[in-house]
């Protein structure tokens, strides 16, 4: 511990501790830790209220409070830093380990930990200022030429049976994609169109692969991708030649460059941007599952609609079931049956009456006829006299035969009769032949 004292004194001197209080090692003023820390804090914070420091991020950690803790380091030194949530939200990128940044802020002493740290007010990627400005300018130019127009965007097929991947065959992107597709058991055909994804030859190669995929009509969807890297590494995907090839592609293109936070101009030209190659693979793999679910739904719609239609039809047919039809017919036919019954009864009754009347009439007629019968007249003592003629046979039987033949007229008057003329007389019983002796008119 004795080694520490001169060291502390040295700091105190450096910080401008009042010289008059300087004393020999043994007689230096006794300070509490808090007093000392307070002195350090006052000096340090006053000295560095406004600094800009460049370094590489390490130990990046986003606290649950939303504050971002990290270290800035270079080859020899390291300094703690914190960026509060409110400032972090305004950041255009997600700071991560390995990223070179320029941090602007103030030094603060954290008394409880005995640490000093940089309170970062603003952060930007180191050395990216020029590149970003160049990309922004190119983006503006390409946008003004219509390469990013929303109308250009093609819909992705809902089920890409075959997917072309333009990427490095040895890169992280293809590894991630195959990983996801394997895990998802996507059953989608993949054809890899190998191309370097960084360096000067990358952009023209990527563009040519996109053209080739279209020329050979090699797939339903093209994924243009690479894994994460520095801004410079991703630059080929922002090259005009790549942007134009994507815009010209007849086959829909998904751009998946770097990590979520990264972007390239290919993202703007593509029909769809996936935040990462894995995400692109998820999109592609999902399509089959989504489609199978859709098929389920279509089938359910067909079945349920058909069933409800048939049910409705059954309900309308129920009106015509045999039992109901019979009942309905009975209801309809009842009045007719009644009328028929009534008519039948009326008819029968009428016939009976008619027959009774007829009987009566017949009996009446019989009695009338009987009354009118010549026999009845004869019985009352009248006789029928017919002329037989003078020269004819005179037997009574011959006269009767002649009378029945109707040959002789019935005598109704004495006029015309002559004495000696034969007459046939019919009685109620029997007959007689008589001669006329005298005629009185």
């Amino acid at each position: 511990m004795h080694l520490k004292k001169p060291h502390v004194d040295a700091i105190v001197i450096a910080m401008g501790f009042p010289a008059k209080e300087k004393a020999a090692a043994d007689s230096s003023p006794l300070l509490t830790v808090s007093e000392l820390t307070s002195l350090i804090k006052g000096n340090l914070e006053a000295s560095f209220p406004d600094v800009t420091v460049e370094g590489e991020i390490s130990n990046a950690k986003l606290a649950s409070s939303g504050h971002f803790y990290f270290s800035l380091k270079d080859e020899n030194s390291i300094i703690q830093a914190v960026m509060f949530k409110s400032k972090l939200a305004a950041l255009g990128f997600a700071p991560s380990d390995g990223l070179r940044v320029r941090a602007h802020g103030a030094i603060s002493v954290y008394a409880q930990r005995g640490q000093y740290q940089l309170i970062v007010q603003s952060l930007r990627k180191a050395g990216t200022g020029d590149i970003l400005a160049m990309l922004e300018e190119r983006k503006r130019l390409l946008a003004s030429q219509g390469y990013f127009d929303a109308e250009r965007k093609k819909a992705l097929p809902r089920f890409p049976g075959r997917v072309a991947i333009v990427t490095s065959p040895t890169g992280a992107a293809i590894h991630d994609i195959l990983n996801v597709l394997g895990r998802r058991n996507s059953a989608i055909d993949i054809v890899i169109l190998p191309a370097p994804v960084q360096g000067a030859e990358a952009a023209p190669a990527i563009a040519k692969r996109i053209e080739q995929a279209n020329r050979l009509d090699i797939a339903d969807v093209i994924v243009v991708c690479r894994g994460g890297g520095s801004l410079e590494d991703l630059l080929p995907f922002s090259e005009t030649v790549v942007v134009k090839a994507i815009a010209a592609s007849r086959i829909p293109v998904i751009s998946a460059v770097g990590h979520e936070i990264d972007w390239a101009l290919s993202d703007f030209a593509a029909d769809l941007r996936a935040p990462t190659p894995s995400a692109a693979a998820e999109l592609v793999a999902e399509s089959r599952e989504v489609l199978l679910r859709e098929l389920d739904q279509f089938q359910a719609v067909l079945e349920s609609t058909m069933r409800s239609k048939l049910d409705a039809l059954g309900a309308s047919l129920e009106v015509f079931s045999p039992e109901l039809v019979k009942a309905r017919f009975e209801i309809l036919s009842l009045p007719i049956v009644n009328r028929l019954d009534d008519a039948h009864e009326a008819l029968v009754n009428s016939i009976k009456g008619l027959l009774a009347d007829l009987d009566h009439w017949i009996a009446l007629a019989c009695s009338i006829i009987e009354t009118a019968s010549p026999q009845a007249v004869l019985k009352r003592g009248f006789s029928i006299v017919r002329r037989v003629g003078k020269t004819q046979a005179v037997s009574a039987s011959a006269g009767q035969a002649a009378a029945s033949r109707g040959g002789n007229e019935i005598v109704r008057s004495s006029t015309g009769l002559e004495p000696g003329e034969h007459l046939h007389i019919s009685f109620a019983e029997g007959s007689a032949l008589a001669d006329v002796r005298e005629v009185n008119e």
């Binding site: 097929p157 809902r158 089920f159 049976g161 065959p169 040895t170 890169g171 293809i174 590894h175 195959l178 597709l181 058991n185 996507s186 059953a187 989608i188 055909d189 993949i190 054809v191 890899i192 169109l193 190998p194 191309a195 190669a205 040519k208 692969r209 053209e211 080739q212 050979l216 090699i218 089959r288 489609l291 199978l292 098929l295 739904q297 279509f298 089938q299 719609v301 067909l302 079945e303 609609t305 058909m306 239609k309 048939l310 039809l313």
Partner: protein, 76 residues
Amino acid sequence: MKNFEQRLQRLEYLADRIKEPDLPIEEAMKVFEEGMTLSKGLRKELESLQGKVEMITNGPDDQGGPDMVPFQEVKE
């Protein structure tokens, strides 16, 4: 046979059509049968897919058909 997307669109159309309330029942039966056949066919096709991974060996400027080899992943 029409391609997958066309058949899928046809199925979509049929699923809409069968919902029309004044569709005659004979027509609905036809729609139903065609739709179910399509749906089963598409499903079978989806489920029977194997999924192969190939790499084109043609250079980007090569004309003619693509030459493919099965892709064997090589880690960097």
